[in-house]
Symmetry: C2
Subunit: 436 residues, 2 copies
């Protein structure tokens, strides 16, 4: 038996405590599997008094430099979160320590700097926990799927949004009702902005798309619409049409370009993605050789995230992640920028809800505007609004059309005197079909 | 750029040709990602004349020894299949070559010998393609999920059976009709015995369960029932109750023991496994930290299998698989034998179809026999048979009961004069429930 692998844990919050729990409770199992023992040499927190319980077992303090410079420490585990973690990670890399992190915001914003810095210093960054929590998707993209040209990657990668959408769908709640329930249950932060506005999903999509398509994807390359303006009516009408509404992160090859977007999306109930409910995450992938592949699991929460962190600790300690990291050329910072498909060139099917006054001729005006912009319809139906009885919701489903044409047509439609509020425009995802 | 990695390909069938296709067509992509080039130094086949097309591009011959002893060859890729592959693999290992294989029959039967032999000779065995084709489940069990105590692993791991069951369900076909359609479409072999009798699934389950539970699981440890005796009536009655019938491989922790079985199983339509249709495979896992995790993809076929083979070639060439293989203690041949739960101690819910004569008192006799063996019922209904109008099918769904009690009760029931043919007994899977 070799000496234990020294770890410095930066952060003593929910995930950090999950990591400590797995390392101590599963010590025998981990040792049996890997022949390795681990020693948590430092737990760095912001406030020692608030974490007094940890001080009984661990070397608890607030001095990052002392922790990352300790020669016994081989792996620095960063579970503080936020952009403020850059400085300690930088320091750790420069001290020759391997990094394990769950920090998608930092990697999405500063991966271009951190990945090359780690390569330069001969250390690795394990970041399985940064995307989709316990689902080993980084592992799959850097190993099992490496033989495939990936054609599309579509994911439900924010559990908070998926929980809210599930509540709105299953219980008919409004967005605000579902959000406040999610907050009560701890699925949503007190400030849920980054989750519900889609930015958290976009940060994860940037990381995943870089790995899958081997080009540099930044958050600003991604068209982002959140779920915070979604109305219960549209969830209901979509269900009537056979679709669930999910917040999807989508990266797909279109010719030589990459279409990159996060938005609420209609997913047909025949698709596995439509059945992903509650706080679960899922990723649906199409590769040129594997065809369709689908991964499902918990994308957040203490133990699933800690599971991914500890898997990375093992991967680093076993030499697997350092080996992968040193050899593969698929990490941000060493890739060409993505050739991003301009959003107005997107081709999709659309769900439109027009809020029309109940007067003769309004149908004709709407369809004329769509026709003028080459948009053909696959269905139109007049609904009853539960929210406002003075308008008539008209739901239009289009055949494939171009985003630019749709936006031009909507501008004209919304300018009509008979239209009472801006038309709701949602995209319908058509996943590649395969013969089973 | 280093010199190319030399490969000897043993087998020039469907999968072998898929491997050659990926290595040649995706050469640039693979080189960009990994910095590696590959050279197929030998293609070994049984009959050179039948593979004349390959001779234009490759060094095609029938001499295994020449291929595996070539000093340029670093990786021997075995896609011949069958137990006859043991001898060339043995030879390759002794020549210091890494092995990549898709051969589950060989690994299930001889892994105890081959894995330790490879360790002894300082080489590795990549076997992702042996289970569930393109789904990177071996990768997940040896890396991403390594931090979890696995509590259960349940899979649809034979695409042929799943295709047949899907046809029976969706089109109301009989087993023979569905089988012959599967054969026409190439989803089933001319001799489908190993698929439909459940042995192929058991071989894969033995490999997966060994890795997941870190104990030696052999095919003979597994209770096996195939789909070859399944009747269309039961698929229909199960659907009416809200269940799909799937051939599942199940390995689950029960106290200190492992319940190991392959049998047609009723899966509730609320579960993702119930929605796995056609030739697809899927694996549903529960880990102590990750909770529920689900993997879905193509389990067989030329390109999905080749995808896994090439991923392993890359993993070996990058040093990732050799590193994993050398360090982990989770491979067959170095594990304690599984403590197998005796099948009669299994506790499950049951679906029973009793074929009764339409005479007074028969219901009472059946329920009396079940009650005598402590089996309580959650539902009973009398059906109409489409196959035989002279009997009355009585479908009984039980609460959790013990297999031994069920078998004892069925013995008594089937001995009744009013019972016209042996009672059909299927198990209903209850997957662990989690709060989402």
């Amino acid at each position: 038996m070799n000496e234990p692998v020294g770890i410095a844990l930066l952060g003593s919050g929910v995930v950090g405590r999950g990591v400590l729990a797995i390392l101590s409770e599963q010590q025998d199992l981990l040792e049996r599997r890997t022949g390795l023992r681990f020693e948590v040499c430092h737990v760095v927190c912001r406030d020692v008094n608030k974490n007094a319980d940890l001080a009984k077992t661990y070397n608890l303090h607030t001095d990052t430099t002392r922790a990352v410079s300790d020669p016994r420490v081989k792996i620095v585990v960063e579970v503080m979160g936020g952009l403020g973690a850059e400085s300690p990670i930088n320091e750790a890399i420069r001290s020759g320590k391997h990094i394990v992190t769950a920090n998608k915001a930092l990697l999405a914003a500063r991966g271009n700097h951190l990945f090359p810095l780690a390569k330069k210093h001969g250390v690795s960054i394990g970041f399985e926990a940064s995307c989709a929590g316990g689902i080993p998707i980084i592992d799959a993209l850097t190993r099992g799927l490496l033989s495939n040209r990936i054609d599309s990657l579509t994911g439900i990668i924010n559990g908070t949004c998926n929980y809210i959408l599930t509540q709105m769908t299953e219980k008919g709640q409004t967005y605000s009702q579902a959000l406040s329930e999610a907050q009560k249950l701890g699925y949503a932060e007190a400030d849920p902005t980054l989750d519900v506005n889609g930015r958290d999903s976009a940060q994860k999509l940037a990381i995943l798309a870089s790995l899958a398509f081997n080009c540099q994807v930044n958050e600003r390359d991604i068209h982002i619409t959140g779920i915070d303006t979604l109305q219960a009516d549209d969830i209901r009408f979509a269900e009537e049409l056979g679709y669930a509404i999910k917040l999807l992160g989508i990266a797909e090859r279109v010719g030589d370009s990459l279409s990159l977007r996060v938005h609420p999306t209609l997913v047909h109930h025949g698709e596995l993605l439509a059945d992903v409910n509650g706080a679960f995450n899922a990723i649906s992938l199409y590769g040129h050789a594997i065809g369709h592949q689908f991964f499902y699991g918990r994308g957040a929460g203490q133990m699933p995230t800690a599971s991914a962190v500890v898997a990375d600790i093992l991967g680093v300690a076993l030499g697997i992640i350092p080996h992968t990291f040193a050899r593969l050329n698929i990490y941000p910072g060493q890739l060409e920028p993505a050739r991003v498909l301009p959003f107005e060139q997107l081709r999709s099917r659309y769900y439109l809800r027009v809020s029309a006054a109940d007067v003769p001729g309004v149908f004709a005006d709407i369809t004329a505007a769509l026709g003028k912009h080459h948009i053909s319809l696959s269905g139109v139906s007049q609904k009853e609004s539960e929210e406002d009885v003075s308008v008539v919701p008209v739901v239009v489903v289009t055949h494939r059309a171009t985003e630019g044409d749709i936006q031009a047509a909507l501008k004209e439609i919304d300018a009509l005197a008979t239209i009472k509020s801006p038309t709701v425009c949602l995209r319908i995802v058509d996943v590649p079909k395969e013969f089973a």
